[in-house]
Amino acid sequence: MTDMHHPSSTPAFLEVDDLTVRFPTRDGVVQAVTGLSYKVELGKTLGIVGESGSGKSVSSLAVMGLHDLERTDITGSIKVEGQEVVGLSENRMRKLRGNAVSMIFQDPLTALHPFFTIGDQIVEGYKAHHSGVSKKTARAKAVEMLERVGIPQPNRRVDDYPHQFSGGMRQRAMIAMSLVNDPKLIIADEPTTALDVTVQAQILDLLQELQRDFGSAIVIITHDLGVVAEMADEVLVMYGGRCVEHGGGKEVLTHPEMPYTAGLLSSVPDLVGDPRERLHPIPGTPPSLLSPPRGCAFNPRCGYTHLVPGEMCTRELPPLESGGRGSAHLKRCHLTDSGTVLAEQLPVYAGTAMDPGEPAGPTAEPDPTPKENAGE
């Protein structure tokens, strides 16, 4: 299942293979990530998209070794520069963390410690990986990092506390912190979700610029397809803890081969095209990871199941395989020639008989689009 994403010869910097992350809880086992595989090369950006709860953060926390192993079952393999990380001792993992691999978190206000200065927090990571750093060097390093991420008057601002920074500056500081040891892989978990658009644009530019200068690999996690379109060389769509589509950024966004991806694309309005055109939402809600639907996890919300013979969608998990557009574009869907079908046919939703993944909840999020579908 995890063969060839890219027939490239250079080994990727990060190779995730058949990663599964589960949380045993009182209510049952949360199957947060199942059988996830991907590779990222130096200098390239992978975008991971998906709705809330689809397992995006959980999978990247696994790469950082940040899960509490007492409460988490992790299987599969994660190789950073060829070194296996799953099952690595905490001591050796710590040598990677913040060093070769670093992470940028979503909300810079809560992700920075309110009681320590920005400078202290930046150099802390530096000191953790370099012994015998003098106070003076440390401070100089912090100022240099702030300068690199474009904070004005870094000399002065280095002694500020996070609450004295604006949202955008905090995220810059966060980026400075993650860059302090020149990491080769940066995982950015929704780095701009908490920010305004104009500031988001600044931060995305900064990330791209840093990547150009230092050739790092970037994994950017987001639910904003626009961000993926601007940033990612490759995109991986997650649904219910699994990868459902994977391929080149532009390729996947323009020629989706999995109904969920297509649904996402048609449910967001955009800046061009006829604004009066109705949106096409995906009915229902994401599945519960405690008891995911049988077969394809998307089947309760999918508008194409009627085109798949033999009720395969509800019976059998579709494999992640290439569709009609070459081996670099993988999709998890039973539909034959799905790319063409998705491009040519609108989804058909069966009445209100949907009850996707809400164990205790009231039945369906009823189909809000009966009007369009009635005649189609």
Partner: protein
């Protein structure tokens, strides 16, 4: 900062004035006839009572009496009773006709003992309580944590006076493992005598409070360990120990400090059981005795002192907040 402190001090003084006025009214108008306390053996003829009341100014309007009292606190006053005329120095809290002593110097005498108990016990429960709380939080869900939690639950359920009494009876009286408990002035008399005399009281009271502090600090430490910034610290490659002790503990201490401020004030205002059982002449014991004897000046003084401690500790806690958390500006 200065403006803030000034505002807090002034509002604190207002609170104390209100407390003292309520006290004053209750005692003057309440069922206990103040003059009665000054009769020998509690028996007086009506004339004698009259004379006493006049001597003490108890026949004057309430507000005027209160004014005299407050003036005594700020500026000192003269207390006349029949032939007796005494100078009561600032802060004058009145004269106890039961003890034939000025209240202020009398309580000041008892204060070092209570302060010693409070300081020593605080050292015990803060260090042990926070340390155990942190250990428990860092091992949350594991057998060690469960054990510690169960133990503190159990310990909380045992009444304090029982523990204190048993400790005294067995550790001191029966087995002699601890020296006799008493208060010895540490500087004027003997430091080691002081230490030995207080040790058991510290341990018993300290361990009693410890259970609560284990719970507080475990709770706020668990919360802090789940904060995003703790995850960030781990993502930097810091050791778990450093993450817990530097990043999480600093944040976890903030709520603990608040509770500590109030607890410390309460202990300072007198710990009746401790002083009684371990035979340490502190303020709590005096408060107890004065209530038994209806010694009104002493009762009001102890209540007022307690209120003062609470007011002051609140201000100190706020300043400590500002010191701990740079976002708080006074």
């Amino acid at each position: 900062m200065f403006g803030y402190l000034l505002r807090r001090v002034i509002s604190g003084i207002l609170v104390l004035l209100a407390v003292s006025f309520v006290l004053f009214t209750v005692f003057a108008k309440g069922p206990a006839q103040p003059a009665l306390a000054y009769c020998s053996k509690g028996v007086c003829t009506a004339e004698q009572l009259d004379i006493i009341e006049r001597n003490l100014g108890l026949d004057q309007p309430l507000l005027q009496q209160y004014g005299t009292y407050i003036k005594g606190v700020v500026a000192g006053r003269e207390i006349n009773s029949g032939t007796l005329s005494l100078d009561c120095n600032v802060p004058c809290l009145g004269y106890s006709f039961k003890k034939f002593e000025m209240v202020t110097p009398f309580l000041l005498d008892r204060f070092p003992a209570t302060l010693s108990i409070a300081l020593g016990a605080s050292v015990v429960f803060l260090t042990v309580g926070v340390a155990v709380g942190v250990i428990s939080a860092r091992n949350r869900g594991k057998p060690l944590d469960r054990g510690l939690q169960g133990f503190t639950m159990l310990a909380t359920a045992i009444p304090y006076y029982l523990v204190a009494l048993l400790a005294f009876l067995f550790l001191v009286s029966k087995w002699g493992l601890f020296p006799t408990t008493e208060y010895v002035a540490p500087f004027a008399e003997s430091f080691s005598g002081w230490f030995k005399g207080m040790l058991l009281a510290w341990l018993v009271l300290g361990l009693f409070y410890t259970t609560a502090y284990v719970r507080y600090s475990r709770g706020s430490m668990v919360e802090a360990l789940n904060e995003d910034y703790v995850r960030t610290a781990r993502a930097k490659g810091l050791t778990d120990r450093r993450v817990a002790l530097k990043h999480a503990l600093r944040a976890a201490l903030v709520p603990v400090v608040t509770i500590f401020g109030l607890d410390f004030a309460t202990i300072l205002a007198g710990t009746i059981f401790t002083e009684r059982i371990f035979n340490i002449q502190g303020i709590g014991l005096e408060a107890l005795q004065s209530i038994g004897q209806q010694d009104l000046p002493v009762i009001s003084a102890t209540v007022l002192i307690a209120a003062t401690f609470v007011v002051v500790s609140n201000i100190v806690v706020d300043v400590a907040y500002a010191a701990l958390d740079p976002r708080v500006r006074l």
